[in-house]
């Protein structure tokens, strides 16, 4: 077990090394890139991806996948934006609570289908993804909610600075700490790993696998809802297609972060580093004068390379454990 933990930490250290050397490589030609102010910007810009990747991590660890996160984000964002136009005086705390509640509710819809009807998660979330997008169109009538229709307090919250970092970044940090505590320090967090690692064994240890997966979807949904408000407030616009295709970037961040799509393996550090890897690339492209059209292909190539490397790592890990067991006897 200690050996296993060491290996996992080695993988995260490796990824950290890749992210850091990537930033340093860019800095050799453009020193301004690693200035503290710019790094804070990159982190802030990547914060939505980090929050969503942390939620997705739990879902994937529990041997599911949530492709509806971007649509959930857009729907929640639209609802809170419309609510804000109707009730401009609503305190930000209330807006945040509503956003998290709506997101959790949408996540629970996914979860209930997976739990009670045992429909494969990929089918459920493919379906809800298109349904959520359609619902945005229905409630908004295809119209945009623009900056001038939103109240000042609504749009300024993500930008509010505290100790040099905007609120958006702080929320990402808080979510990371909360998820880390959840998955390492609570029975529920451990049950995600148990349910994903070996569902049959999990049942025999008294874990309700379906229920565990349901809660994974609720958490992923709640975080998507939270990001929905932050996204809409940050860009000060809400429409049907915001964050279109973002779900793939979220899954990509998880895969790059070493979270096994087969379930049971994944860490908070991995999800964050996977997201930061994509964030650094996204922010570096304009700096090094490469057309932003390259971004899609690069993240695609990164997924393929990461999954290949991770598969290699898993193979050797299996052998090492076996050897140790023999030696122990």
């Amino acid at each position: 077990m200690i050996m296993l933990k060491k290996l996992i930490s080695v993988r995260e250290t490796l990824l950290l090394g890749v992210v850091v050397s990537l930033a340093l490589l860019i800095a050799t030609r453009f020193p301004g890139f690693i200035a503290p102010g710019n790094l804070a910007n990159v982190f802030n810009d990547t914060s939505p991806l980090i929050i969503l990747a942390l939620g997705q991590m739990i879902v994937i660890v529990a041997r599911c996948i949530d492709l509806s996160v971007a649509a959930n984000l857009a729907l929640t964002g639209m609802i809170v934006a419309m609510l804000n136009t109707m009730m401009p005086g609503l305190p930000v705390v209330v807006t945040l609570t509503i956003a998290v509640a709506i997101g959790a509710f949408l996540g629970a819809i996914n979860g209930i289908f997976v739990w009670k009807l045992e429909i494969p998660p990929i089918v459920v979330t493919l379906g809800t993804m298109t349904i959520f997008r359609g619902v945005i169109f229905l409630i908004s009538d295809g119209k945009w909610v623009n900056a001038h229709e939103m109240s000042e307090s609504f749009t300024s919250f993500p930008r509010m600075e505290l100790l040099g970092l905007p609120a958006l970044s702080w929320i990402a940090v808080l979510v990371a700490i909360a998820i880390w505590l959840l998955v390492t320090r609570t029975p529920m967090g451990r049950s995600f790993y148990a349910a994903g690692g070996n569902p049959h064994a999990a049942v025999y240890t008294g874990i309700d696998v379906g229920k565990t997966q349901f809660f994974a979807f609720v958490i992923s949904g709640a975080l998507a809802g939270l990001t929905g408000y932050l996204w809409v407030a940050r860009y000060a616009v809400a429409y049907v297609d915001i964050a279109g295709g973002f779900e793939l970037e979220v899954v990509a961040a998880c895969v790059i972060g070493g979270i096994s799509i087969a379930g049971g393996i994944g860490t908070v550090a991995g999800a964050i580093l996977g997201a930061l890897f994509l964030g650094v690339i996204k922010n570096a492209l304009p700096v090094i004068n490469v057309s932003p059209f390259w971004q899609l292909a690069i993240s695609g190539a990164a997924i393929v390379v990461a999954v290949t490397l991770n598969a290699r790592a898993n193979k050797t890990k299996g052998r090492v454990i076996l050897k140790n067991a023999e030696h122990a006897q």
Binding site: V255, L296, S299, G300
Partner: protein, 330 residues
């Protein structure tokens, strides 16, 4: 995800074929119902030419869905098909700039489709990676290459005879695309239900390990299925490019979801092991009729996607719900 053990009947054909038959019958009922509803709600529906137009809604997606059905039955999936369309279309557009003719365009399109399929196939079967992650990656990669080549530009000016594939008619109201759809439906139905190769796909989907021990070359079969999916995406790309008359990097975006919906709606088990081509054919008609009928009623495309999403979840949820309720009543 379900963790209850799959029941393995001692006679595979009798019980599964019964279930499948009833599923396809149900689906056929839905198709007929939608057809009747459409003809009642719009006076323009029951016209041979408008019905012929309706087929364009599903023929290109169905071409891919046939190969995808085989792939899903074998326990794999390919989410990169829409991006293969983009890459194939971009390759044809780039070749066009060099001044090649229609025959070369088609050959280039099919070759690029095959190569994309081969790329997925190598990663999944040779490297042993999970197909869902690999194809999410290549989905970004293939379309990303199109974006690198095209940016915000478009390729136009396809030769006049190239437009036949997407706009031409073989006989009266029968379009070339529909004829291709029928031909491939028959080809894939025979391949899946009447050949050893088809039987081995079911065997692999039900139990890959057992299939391997019974002498089936599991990885080779899967390799071929990825190749076929790439090739069919090539065919779809040629039809779509010809119909639109231009190539943009966003061509066919989101189509992979509709293809998977069609396959699942057609009664193919997303976890592998069961499914049929007749089911996929009926599902293609159902989806085509729904979108066309709603279009005649001036329902916007995004609202139609709600129906498609509900259809996808509904057709899988309903039988399970009924089953659970009947078990509770016992």
């Amino acid at each position: 995800m379900s963790i209850t053990a799959r029941e393995i009947p001692d006679r595979l054909t009798s019980s599964t074929s019964k279930v499948l038959r009833s599923w396809e019958l149900l689906l056929l009922g839905v198709a007929v119902g939608i057809f009747v509803l459409n003809s009642l709600s719009s006076p323009y529906f029951l016209d041979p030419w408008s019905l012929s137009d309706a087929t364009f809604n599903f023929t290109e997606k169905a071409l891919i869905a046939f190969a995808m059905a085989l792939l899903v039955i074998s326990g794999e999936i390919d989410l990169s098909v829409a991006s293969i369309i983009a890459l194939v279309s971009t390759a044809m557009g780039a070749a066009l700039q060099l001044g090649v003719g229609t025959t070369e365009l088609v050959l280039i399109g099919l070759t690029v489709g095959l190569l994309c399929g081969a790329f997925n196939a190598v990663l999944v079967t040779v490297m042993g990676l999970p197909s869902i992650v690999v194809t999410i990656g290549t989905m970004s990669l293939f379309r990303g290459i199109s974006y690198i080549v095209l940016g915000d530009q478009a390729f136009r000016g396809y030769p006049a005879d190239f437009s036949f594939f997407g706009q031409g008619y073989v006989f009266w109201v029968i379009s070339f695309e529909f004829a291709l759809f029928v031909a491939f439906a028959i080809f894939y139905a025979v391949l899946l239900h009447r050949t050893n190769f088809g039987r081995s796909i079911f065997a692999i989907g039900n139990n890959p390990t057992a299939a391997l021990f019974s002498g089936i070359r599991v990885q080779r079969v899967k390799f071929i299925l990825f190749l076929l999916t790439g090739l069919m995406s090539g065919f779809a790309a040629i039809c779509l490019t010809s119909r639109l008359g231009s190539t943009r990097p966003s061509i066919g975006i989101g189509m992979e979801l509709e293809v998977v919906t069609m396959v699942v709606l057609g009664g193919v088990n997303i976890l592998g092991g069961s499914g049929s081509i007749p089911g996929v054919v009926i599902a293609a008609f159902v989806m085509g009729l729904v979108t066309f009928g709603l279009g005649l009623l001036n329902v916007p495309g995004i609202v139609m996607s709600i129906f498609i999403g509900l259809l996808l979840i509904g057709v899988i949820a309903l039988p399970r719900l009924v089953q659970q309720l009947s078990q509770r009543l016992k």
